[in-house]
Point group: C2
Chain length 246, copies 2
C-alpha cells in the first residue's frame, strides 16, 4: 500500500451566498464530520464563511484560519501583490498538506461556489496531484443576488455574460453590448467605471444594484437610484435577459 | 384588510443540480412546512425534482403535478409550440392561483436555480402582481457539473459566457472566440452543431463534456473523447478560463 493511501483528503465546501440557511445538506454533513476546518479570513475579523459555520461547530473542531496578507495598499496588477498572494497560497498549502500527510481530512470552507472565482482554486490546483479531493458546490453570490431581487435572469436562447468590474471600461462596454443577460462582479472601487460603462452600453435602465444579497443589511435598488460611490467589493450589478417566452 | 391579505404565497424552491443532498437547509425547511407542493413534470414519468423531494414528503403533502404538453414533435420555433406552452403555463397558473386565493401557500420546486433558464419564471411573472412570492436559490446545473468535473472555471479577470446550444452555429462560434470561460447549455439534439462550433472557435482541446452531473450515471469526459451523438438535453459542455493566478 502506498504512503499516500493513508493521507487525508481535501474537501472544498461551498457555503453559498451569505444566508446561513443556504448551505446544502451535503456541505453541512461534511463540515460536521471533519475535525480540521480551514477558512480564508482577514486578520482580526470574522468573515462570512466563519459566521455561517460557527453555529455548526463543536468543541472537537480545529479551525485553521488562513489569513490573507494585507494587500489593500497594493495595486492588484503590481508584481508585489502577486508575490504576496503567491506566498500566502503556498504557505496555506504547506499548512493543510501537513495535516493531510498525517492522515487528517481537511475541509476548506468557501463563500459562494468553490470553483467560480474562488480562492479555493489556488490551493486546489497546487494540492490535487498529491491528495484526493472532493468538491461540494455552493450557491454562487450572483444567484443569491438575483433571487433576493426576484429577477428572472435568462430566458430561452439568452446568453449570459459574467463580467469582472476589474476589466477596463472599453472591454466592459463591448461585452455588455453583446450580452443578453449580464452580471457585473467585483464592483467595489471599480464602481464609477462600471456604472459609466453600463450607461455607454445602453443598459442603464435595466440594471439592478445588489449589496449583501441574502444577508442582513441587504440593499437592492435600480442602479439609477443608487447614490453610493464605493460599494463593497462583493456587490453585484444584474442586467436581466429578455429572451423567448411563450 | 384587503382580500389579498388572506392569500397564500408562492414559494419558488431551487432543488439544485440533481444530487438530493445538494438541496439547501432553507428549501428543505420550506418544503416540509408547505402542504401544497407543485412540480413541473412529464406525463407518466418521475422527474429529477420529484426524485429529490420524495424522501422528505409526508402523507399530509399534496403534490400538484404540472405536466408539460407533449411537444417533442414540434419545432421550438414553431408557433404551435409557443401556443401549447403558453396555454400550459396559463393553466398551471390558474391551478396554483386557486389554491393561493383559498389562503394556501404553494411551493413550486425547481431543478437547478429558479431564475436561471427556469420554467418557474413563466409562472412567477404571471403571478407576482397578485401574490406574495419568495424565491430560494438553488445550485445551478452548471455549478454541479464543474464541481463534479473538479474543474476551476473562472480566475481573476476571466469573463464567463453561458451560451445556449439552441443558437445558430455562427453565433456560438463568435461568442466562444471572445469568451475566457464558457458553458454550453441545452446541448441535446444541438450536439453536432455545438461540437463543430467549439472546434471552429479553437476551444476543442479544453472542452469537457458532462452528462448527469452529480447524479447516478454521471459521465465526465474530454469532449474529444466523447463518442455519443445525441446526448440528453441537460448535458453541458464546460470550457475553463485561464486568467490571472498568483
Amino acid at each position: 500500500m502506498s504512503e499516500t493511501a493513508h493521507y487525508g483528503r481535501l474537501l472544498g465546501l461551498g457555503l453559498g451566498p451569505g444566508d446561513p440557511e443556504l448551505i446544502t445538506l451535503k456541505a453541512l454533513r461534511l463540515l460536521k464530520a471533519t475535525r480540521h476546518v480551514a477558512t480564508f479570513a482577514k486578520a482580526g475579523r470574522q468573515g462570512h464563511a466563519e459566521r455561517i459555520i460557527t453555529p455548526h461547530l463543536e468543541a472537537s473542531h480545529n479551525i485553521v484560519r488562513l489569513e490573507y496578507p494585507v494587500t489593500t495598499e497594493i495595486d492588484v496588477n503590481a508584481k508585489a501583490y502577486k508575490i504576496a498572494l503567491r506566498d500566502f497560497y503556498e504557505q496555506s498549502c504547506a499548512q493543510l498538506a501537513a495535516l493531510m500527510r498525517a492522515g487528517q481530512d481537511v475541509a476548506l470552507v468557501c463563500e459562494g461556489d468553490p470553483l467560480f472565482y474562488g480562492s479555493f482554486m489556488h490551493l486546489f490546483t497546487r494540492l490535487r496531484a498529491e491528495f484526493v479531493c472532493e468538491i461540494v458546490p455552493g450557491i454562487a453570490g450572483m444567484s443569491g443576488a438575483w433571487s433576493a431581487a426576484q429577477m428572472p435572469m435568462t430566458w430561452g436562447d439568452d446568453i449570459m455574460t459574467i463580467i469582472p468590474g476589474t476589466l477596463n471600461a472599453d472591454a466592459i462596454v463591448a461585452r455588455l453590448q453583446q450580452a443578453d443577460a449580464a452580471v457585473l462582479m467585483k464592483i467595489g472601487r471599480n464602481f464609477a467605471k462600471v456604472r459609466q460603462a453600463i450607461i455607454d452600453a445602453g443598459r442603464f435602465d435595466d440594471a439592478i444594484y445588489v449589496e449583501r444579497g441574502t444577508m442582513a443589511g441587504e440593499i437592492i435598488q435600480p442602479l439609477a437610484q443608487y447614490s453610493g460611490e464605493t460599494p463593497p467589493y462583493f456587490s453585484l450589478i444584474l442586467i436581466p435577459g429578455n429572451g423567448r417566452r411563450p
